[in-house]
């Protein structure tokens, strides 16, 4: 097996809030193959978005990052990188809110051309042509006219496409997507996911998709990492994780999502309690206080992913899930 495209090991993000130091991302390890698609799911505050931002070094001032990130866009070259090196140099990112992620004082064509201009030494005219090509490649109708428009003149779906075009302008090998469809209508959501899947296939570009929507991950990704309280609690192929979860948290997440066969009269099952406060993570397994299978040794368990056939779980008692609960 060739070296993975991106490898993150033991990533920790420390933030200082007031006087106290918190660690919302605490020892995260993941990797992604060239052309792969990884979904990171988890509740709000589980550290998903911070993880992406840490990879690109876009954390708020005053935060400290520990751990190593290696990025090897060319096979055979493996080197540890700092965030400054990957930015615009093989890794690009798209954001959740397409209204605020586009500069309102730039025409969308110029916005897309900007990345291209920074990336290669192209002249102004070639950049504009490249921008129009990119706008066309993300499925924007009449790209010539649209390139002269301002962001506020476009709909949410088109803005998200513009953002994708801008991200593609640096020819990334890896695209980080921070909840790319959360702010969109369901129908537009589907189009954008289709576009991402198609670009991945056409350009051989890897995707890391952060979302709290399991359906989105199931549609686009071939691997899933489930995050809880700053750590990955389960990682595996989409099929394995969704059909035979090995961690009670994943199982509970799946149980709380509606399906076609759900009885509408029955309230959806929730997960009791609240996600732990990063200022005071519980010792041992961080899900233990909310886990209905928790046993005494869970509260002292060391966090470690136990991997069986490529399917890792942090639960020390995965056998409890063998009893059909779903």
């Amino acid at each position: 097996m060739s070296a993975p495209l991106l490898e993150v090991s033991d990533l920790k993000v420390h933030l200082t809030i007031g006087e106290r130091q918190v660690t919302p991302v605490d020892g995260l390890t993941l990797s992604i193959e060239k052309g792969g698609a990884l979904g990171i799911v988890g509740e709000s505050g589980s550290g998903k978005s911070l993880t992406l931002r840490a990879i690109l070094g876009l954390l708020p001032p005053g935060s400290v990052v520990d751990g190593t990130i290696t990025f090897s866009p060319q096979p055979g070259t493996t080197n540890e990188v700092s965030a400054d090196q990957v930015r615009g140099n093989g890794v690009a990112m798209i954001f959740q809110e397409p209204m605020t992620a586009l500069n309102p004082t730039m025409r969308v064509g110029d916005l897309v051309a900007e990345g291209a201009r920074n990336h290669g030494a192209l002249d102004r005219k070639a950049c504009r042509a490249r921008a129009i090509d990119l706008l066309r490649s993300v499925g924007i109708p009449s790209p010539h006219e649209r390139s002269r428009m301002w962001p506020h003149e476009l709909s949410g779906g088109l803005r998200q496409r513009v953002m994708i075009a801008a991200a593609l302008s640096t020819s990334p090998a890896l695209l980080l997507c921070d909840e790319p469809t959360t702010a969109l209508d369901v129908t537009v959501q589907d189009q954008i996911l289709g576009l991402l899947a198609q670009l991945r296939a056409d350009l051989g570009m890897a995707l890391i998709l952060v979302t709290h929507d399991l359906a989105v991950v199931a549609e686009v990704c071939d691997r899933i990492a489930v995050m809880y309280a700053g750590r990955i609690v389960e990682i595996g192929t989409t099929e394995d994780v969704l059909t035979s979860p090995q961690h009670p948290y994943t199982a509970a997440l799946l149980a709380s999502a509606p399906t076609f066969n759900s009885d509408v009269a029955q309230p959806l099952e929730g997960i009791g309690g609240h996600p732990p406060d990063p200022r005071a993570f519980p010792p041992g397994c961080r899900f233990a206080p909310r886990c209905r299978f928790a046993q005494d040794d869970c509260r002292t368990a060391v966090h470690e992913l136990i991997t069986v056939e490529g399917h890792g779980t942090a639960c020390i008692h995965p056998e409890v899930l063998k009893v059909p609960v779903l």
């Binding site: 690109l56 798209i94 605020t100 730039m106 900007e114 920074n118 499925g139 003149e153 189009q191």
Partner: protein, 289 residues
């Protein structure tokens, strides 16, 4: 994926949005009134030699303090110089000094405030503490002290204005940049690997400069009044160059009999201030829609 649907809803949406947008982006009428007034002032300054009937410096001591007549529309001053011609030529001093007296501090203050706000850390501390020091002194006292120290003349007045007035611009832009720095499109630009200089110039400044542009016309008024005040006190443009403030001061002893000597230059200053205020207020209203 059906793009046809997207296309039709799009064109419909954008056309309604478009009419709404032009309605919204139209400048208020008072801006144009202000522009017209300021435009007249600029034209007078440019065509001063054509418009002025006499040499503004030519003295006719026998004709001193003459009343307005068809020969001297605004009479003559105590040295027999034609007041109307002096007033016209004064446009060529007051306008450029007023404008530069606001634009130079705007450039310096915006640059320093942008650096402070965007990079933070010690750059921020250095710029803002320096700003505190300058702001600790009463404005006019500081300007007068600086003009005393640097010597009379246009250059030292502009230096003094810049040293005093940059603080307001630095604070304005710093506040805006602190807000914009955290927005997604700046993060996106950083994610695309753009150098700081380009991010600041393309993404941050254009979105943060609005308040500064609203403040600029009012500051031109302040600078023009400042120059007039300095000249009134005898610290402005050296004599005998015609200047509005100096003319007001020179007419002061004769205010009972030849009231127009001070009043007309005063009204000219008021008119200029009015024009700029209309522009500033209108633009502010426009940006807040």
């Amino acid at each position: 994926m059906s793009l046809a649907d997207d296309l039709t809803t799009q064109s419909g949406e954008s056309s309604t949005e478009h009419t709404f947008a032009t309605e919204r982006t139209r400048l208020p009428k008072r801006v144009w009134v202000g522009v017209a007034i300021v435009g007249v002032y600029v034209l007078v300054a440019v065509f001063a030699p054509v418009l002025a009937p006499y040499d503004p410096l030519a003295q006719h001591l026998l004709d001193a303090l003459a009343n307005p007549s068809s020969a001297h529309w605004l009479g003559t001053d105590e040295l027999g110089r034609d007041v109307f011609s002096r007033l016209i030529f004064a446009f060529r001093v007051d306008l450029p000094v007023g404008v530069l007296g606001a634009v130079l501090p705007a450039i310096v203050g915006t640059a320093l405030g942008a650096i402070a706000g965007y990079f933070g850390g010690w750059a921020d501390a250095l710029v803002m503490r320096t700003a505190d020091v300058f702001q600790a002194f009463p404005t006019y006292i500081l300007i007068i002290a600086l003009v005393f120290a640097l010597g009379q003349g246009v250059v030292s007045i502009l230096v003094a204005f810049t040293l005093v007035a940059w603080v307001a611009y630095a604070r304005l832009i710093r506040g805006e940049i602190l807000r914009i720095r955290g927005l997604d499109y700046v993060q996106a630009a950083r994610a695309a690997g753009l150098p700081s200089r380009r991010i600041l110039g393309l993404h941050v400044l254009p979105n943060g400069i609005g308040q500064t542009l609203v403040y600029l016309p009012s500051d031109i008024v302040l600078a023009t009044l400042g120059l007039a005040a300095l000249s009134f006190l005898g610290l402005g443009i050296p004599l005998p160059t015609p200047e509005w403030g100096a003319m007001i001061a020179a007419g002061q002893p004769f205010i009972r009999d030849q009231w127009w000597l001070s009043t007309v230059p005063g009204l000219v200053v008021v008119g200029f201030g009015l024009g700029l205020s209309l522009i500033g207020e209108g633009v502010e209203e426009w940006t807040q829609r």
